[in-house]
Symmetry: D2
Subunit: 337 residues, 4 copies
């Protein structure tokens, strides 16, 4: 039974705590820490049977019975805590992105290089049933050589402006998942990026120096082309689709919805909207990624999303931002760590 | 160039005249007759370039340059005109049903037996692209042996009560196409029928002695089971679907619509309703059935819908009506011609 | 925290034990009993943290700390155990069917009438997301008055002949869920049944006195018509669909599959088969039905599937069997308890 | 009755001649000219009842009874013939592109400016039922303000290398339709283009100096972003889709196929491939565009695709080629006529 400590009891920390408790048989949540730990969160943690509840994550790192930590704190703290955890010889599952600061990712990589700990990054969408089906079809050769990759990713609503201001920009905050998806679906790296972006959803987003609508094209190392289209607000809900087209055909996935019900009336033939947002659409993927992290530790095998998988999307996001700023295609190798 | 005379210039007579003129290269409409021929219809016929326009269909039968006739007059006149036409040595395409009176169908069969004319019945739905695809999948063995056949057939709106009163009842007027479809899709005959029927759409239909909603089950000569569900009024339009299930799988077809457009908004994910009614859904089938009739004449081959194919659905309809009246399954052989 | 005892540690008993442990927060499995309790099952039960493991269910009934029992034993024992449990003042969740013997169901009803215990029957499909969506659309009036109900229910493979021989026949074993579905979707009772059935999947099923393919039509108390089509073996997997058609339109649900992936190649445009069988398709419904049972106990409210809901499908199945034997429509009131 | 002369009796000239004969009631083909007129083509023309068959198109222009001409000759001759036709006071329907040479388009525009003739360009896809549905949804405001436009356009197979060499390049030969589609669907102009392109289908295409796979992004004058993805070879057939996403939702269209048949077997749930190529998919659009041209002449109204609509896609294609060559975004105003 693996003992896990969760650092950060916000939304995603809670999702992981519940996933481990109910769905990951080989592990248990032995501790949780959050500087803003309050009565409600303490009550929730106790109801899950979590024995140790802290305000300081260092209490988790000090506990020698803890095998692994999940870093679910705010993004700016990920890298520093990761380094401490590695040094404390804890296996690390780190939420995405590792950092918005490339030098900090490099620092984590350096510490990791000299250690024996497992380090997994939280790109949960890789464990979604639909995207796994695309990846499998591609890797099994069902569509031949990859020529074109298309990812559509649109949120149901724009975040608050206060959040936008500190998010690091749409590419690092939202598109980063889609950059990872392009790599995951094709098992190929991104070489060059060109980004078109604008603020059409909310002018306040523009005032905050960010965009809410984008089309980003990429050249991949296998010679294929890729495109992502993003919007911060799709009125019909969370739109998460992908297509990979190749020499023998295409594989495509569309959205999940609450049921297959179709109502036909004088007004038309109407199905349900997509599941509302990531907690609804991707809940099973959160269990699966942590379960695979636990198995990689138990079996001493490779984690499914390693630190380079954490680095690459940040590089792509940086290149996309530079492309947007300079209105020209940007090579990934122009981004200096 | 085959010369065709059209008897009856109502809706379906006009459809056939236009189909032949625009789509059937080996034939031309040489004459049209209708007792209610008026200025508008005459103008329409002239615009198509039809040289001979009559009020009496006998003028068509007398014309030795006419090779074939299409009988598009009212149902009660089909059989008598067909007999006259066969005797005049014209090939006959007869709209469905040949007659609601079995003795009249028998009379046509008797006259036909001693002749060399081709006789085709107007079950146009056999030439619809969707139902042809089902038939082909079945006959090519893609679903193995047939076990279950399901036909859904619902009109967009109930006919006027005055029409209901003279229609011969829903089974002979509407379901007759579906009875034919069961035979067509399976290449098998119906042995026994059980019908449930009621008037839920419009109580006036009940007062007129008819039904507007029905589920009819059948045992087929190949051992399979079949079911038809009917309604005189589907608020979303003309619902025309079929499924055949067998030992290796299933083939199913759904409705056609005006476009593939799907609009996703806060209200849902909405596609178009089915094409409104039979003129929209089945227009291409009208050209195709007449074209194949013309080719059967030119090449002296079998017509695709022969007089037995015209008889059987009438027998099934009679059995269904008897089943409804007596609330018991009725064997087709109970129906005496 | 409600203490639940599970009687029967076969497949469905295990499903419920895991559901309660992982998904039902207000309850825990306090005991499990099975006459064939072995090392493997004991190990499994311990891994779930079930404290009491018995071979005799009477040990559960004797335990005053147990609030409710789930009867998951073989069908022929359901009623007797249910009566004992009610007398022991335990709330009862009883798997379907309560009994194949109407007098036994009546005996349960009699004992229940004088008690204060909750009694729920295990028609889990009522808690499937798709069928709930149909029921909701109907009850919210989105399709107007119900005219036609269609249920398709086909298993991925026929059970072993040895099972067929003791199953009570397809109607009581398999179609019973579909009879319940007709009632659930329409909130209406069945008045009359006509059944067509045959053995097309496997002749040994016929030799065993049973059928494997059926179409059953029904008249409902609200005046609507219903039809179920069944097969014991659909080569493409578990086919579980329903449609309800009414005065304002139709609501229809189709199958769930493992992903939305569609692969387009030179061979066609191919999606996944339906989820394989009931454990895959209906897993979430097993948690939900027990969770609602627990809530009904805690809140002292009506259970969602009461004993009459358990009785009616057995009556319909008996009527269907009589209809098949006598080849005539059978009124439910002909079936004497 | 409008008299039409067709210049060029190749594939598209024949399509138009048959469309007019069978589907355009207000017009007739009075003459056809082709320098390679042979016995087969002459026979075909006579079978359609075309009275005048020439080898020299000037014979058509000289004929004062001819009201309008359809220019269906090779692309390099379009502009010169168009100028002659305008000077001969014939209304002109010109196949796309008007010219690959911007100065020639300008010359046509200059001559046209001083005339009273109607001039329509053959962007037939505007008259496809699916794309019309998208345009209508957008223009009716159903999806709000346009944010993102996506066009997928893939041919079923690459053209012969000999054709590739003289085609003017994929952007001018194939993508030109998609550039027009972006303008048509949004009623907006293209301001800037960035093109990624490569040869993945056939290395000989690269050797011929062309590409076969591309993703092109655009900024539109209304502030929206657009993307086109192209391939010269989709193994599953002609892939022609579009999506427009906006502030209130999305409208999307997918491919047409030969039937709605879906076959479910142990191998999966398989529908038909898209209709094979443009003659299958777009046949109805060819009739419709000519019919609307004829009506614009008869009613003296605006043509639905004017000479600016012919010019703009050529400008976009030139900009895309420049972008590909220079690997940078190119403003349309950089392209000098």
């Amino acid at each position: 039974m693996l003992n896990i400590g969760i650092i950060g009891a916000g939304r995603i920390g809670k999702v992981h705590a519940e996933s481990i408790t109910y769905h990951v048989k080989e592990a248990q949540v032995a501790a949780i820490a959050d500087p803003y730990m309050n009565e409600a969160t303490t009550g929730w943690a106790k109801s899950l049977g979590i024995p140790n509840i802290y305000t300081d994550y260092k209490d988790i790192l000090k506990d020698s019975s803890i095998d692994a930590v999940l870093i679910c704190s705010s993004t700016d703290t990920h890298a520093d805590i990761a380094i401490e955890a590695i040094k404390a010889n804890k296996h690390v599952f780190c939420e995405k992105p590792i950092s918005q600061d490339l030098s900090k990712i490099k620092a984590v990589m350096d510490v990791l290089a000299g250690s024996n700990v497992k380090f997994q990054v939280g790109f949960n969408r890789r464990f979604d049933h639909n995207f796994e089906a695309v990846r499998n079809a591609v890797s099994e050769g069902k569509i031949g050589d990859v020529h074109i990759v298309k990812v559509t990713s649109r949120d149901p609503d724009a975040p608050p402006i206060e959040y936008v201001k500190v998010s690091g920009g749409m590419f690092l905050d939202m598109t980063i998942h889609d950059f990872d998806m392009v790599r995951y679906l094709t098992s190929s790296d991104v070489v060059e990026v060109y980004a078109n972006g604008t603020a059409l959803v909310n002018p306040a987003i523009k005032d905050a120096g960010d965009i809410d609508t984008a089309i980003i094209t990429m050249k991949l190392s296998n010679g294929a082309l890729a495109v992502i289209d993003n919007s911060r607000k799709a009125d019909y809900g969370y739109d998460q689709r992908a297509e990979v087209f190749g020499s023998k055909g295409q594989v495509a996935v569309t959205n999940d919805s609450g049921s297959t019900a179709v109502i036909s009336t004088a007004s038309g033939v109407t199905g349900e909207k997509p599941l509302y947002f990531f907690l609804e659409r991707y809940m099973a993927s959160f269990s699966k990624e942590v379960s695979l992290f636990v198995q990689a530790i138990i079996n001493d095998t490779e984690v499914p999303v390693n630190i380079n998988d954490g680095l690459q999307p940040v590089l792509i996001a940086k290149a996309a931002k530079k492309s947007l700023d300079e209105n020209r295609p940007v090579l990934l190798k122009e981004i200096v760590m």
